[in-house]
Symmetry: C2
Amino acid sequence: MDDNNNTEIDMKSLKRKTLSEQVIDEIINLLMTGKLKPGDRLPSEQEFMKMCNVSRPVIREALASLEVMGIVNRKTRHGTFFSEQIGSRPFAMMLALSASNLSSIIEIRVALELGLVTLAAEKITDEDLERLKETIEKMKKLPTEDSSEEDKEFHKIIAHSAKNPLFEGVINPLQQFHDQMLGNIPIEDRDLKVTLEHHINIYDALVKRDPVEAYASMYHHLNYVKNKAINNLHRI
Amino acid sequence: MDDNNNTEIDMKSLKRKTLSEQVIDEIINLLMTGKLKPGDRLPSEQEFMKMCNVSRPVIREALASLEVMGIVNRKTRHGTFFSEQIGSRPFAMMLALSASNLSSIIEIRVALELGLVTLAAEKITDEDLERLKETIEKMKKLPTEDSSEEDKEFHKIIAHSAKNPLFEGVINPLQQFHDQMLGNIPIEDRDLKVTLEHHINIYDALVKRDPVEAYASMYHHLNYVKNKAINNLHRI
DNA sequence: TACATTTAAATTGTAAGACAAATAAATTAA
DNA sequence: TTAATTTATTTGTCTTACAATTTAAATGTA
């Protein structure tokens, strides 16, 4: 503090880090430095207390936080382990903050679906393609215009075909959030023939494993769906 | 338990929910139901204790978890508030679990950048375009092949032009993680002229506000970058 | 000896009480 | 009226104790 007095130092922009946040940082660092890997067992609460020289509630707050984020799993008597992969719950919780800004949710979902279909074009297996084809065949036999279940299934297969758990952890909550908060597009707004045509175009592009064509088809489809979703939104 | 004994009930698939997790669910529900909005003040710890009939450490674990996720902000004497928007930290922490699977990180980043450039094509402002042009002009004057700073800036402007805080909260950690864990592509692998051409193509598409062309240009660019990043990865 | 049951142990889960730290609000002094 | 001081409020940390869960070890029985 005997430094140059003319230097403006904005001390207020520093946020004080609680002890539990510091413990979290240490634990995250174990992963980032490769000292521990997904699946590995962490030290027990008692051991952490000794290592970090803090009280047990501080450790518990840190671990509870990491568990809610899906980064660790805690089991009585067994211990605490790093998760093998992230799940959907953390991102689903984060989405709650945008619950009142649904158009932004729709927007990011569209963007992610477009990125996803690119990945799928590169990585999709014959098995995945077969399953996509099945949803298309199922849609051809539908008795009504309501293809919402098949539509969801179609998008889920594409999400799965990317074989990227992190991506799935992000897109699954979006798909579910979208369904939950927006409900389904009203029946009278549906055109099974158009949706089916869109799905077939996307499928064909994926068969060719052509990312740009897959993208263009998906973009076309999602714009159709997005406009209906936003119209539905304005009706609420 | 005097039900039909022939029904198989897999009780093991139910995970016991701790009290703090239940408190978290209640708080998230406040957001989901619109009872409270981003920016609103939550009840104090003492009030929660009374409402939920649990001890203070349970409340604190719940609130600490929500704070790490960026969903709430806690200030001494002031209280606890829902955040206005999500930040980057939660997703950055989630990424730590994939620290040992870098190709999957690269992959999801590419997918997200592609979705993002679509959004940008729809929403970009003249101001954003001007800033993109500035990075391009700056690149034209670079003395060496090292355009990593300008490349980062280019992608950051695009991320910002989508004007979607949630999306930014996801893509920023990916951009930073990528930079931090992968470092920069070695100088001898760089071709300023190619990168510049890619950026110009993307910029031109954005000027036209053409999503498919923006996508195709970005895909071309990111494939170039991705291959170099993966080659660099194999060298480590 | 093998299997079943009981007990002990290890770790997480919860509660209560006390004090500390930060800071806004209220009160007092100039 | 403004500035300084004090008080009050809320979060932050710690200690202690007990509860709950679950697995391993020990004991009992056939």
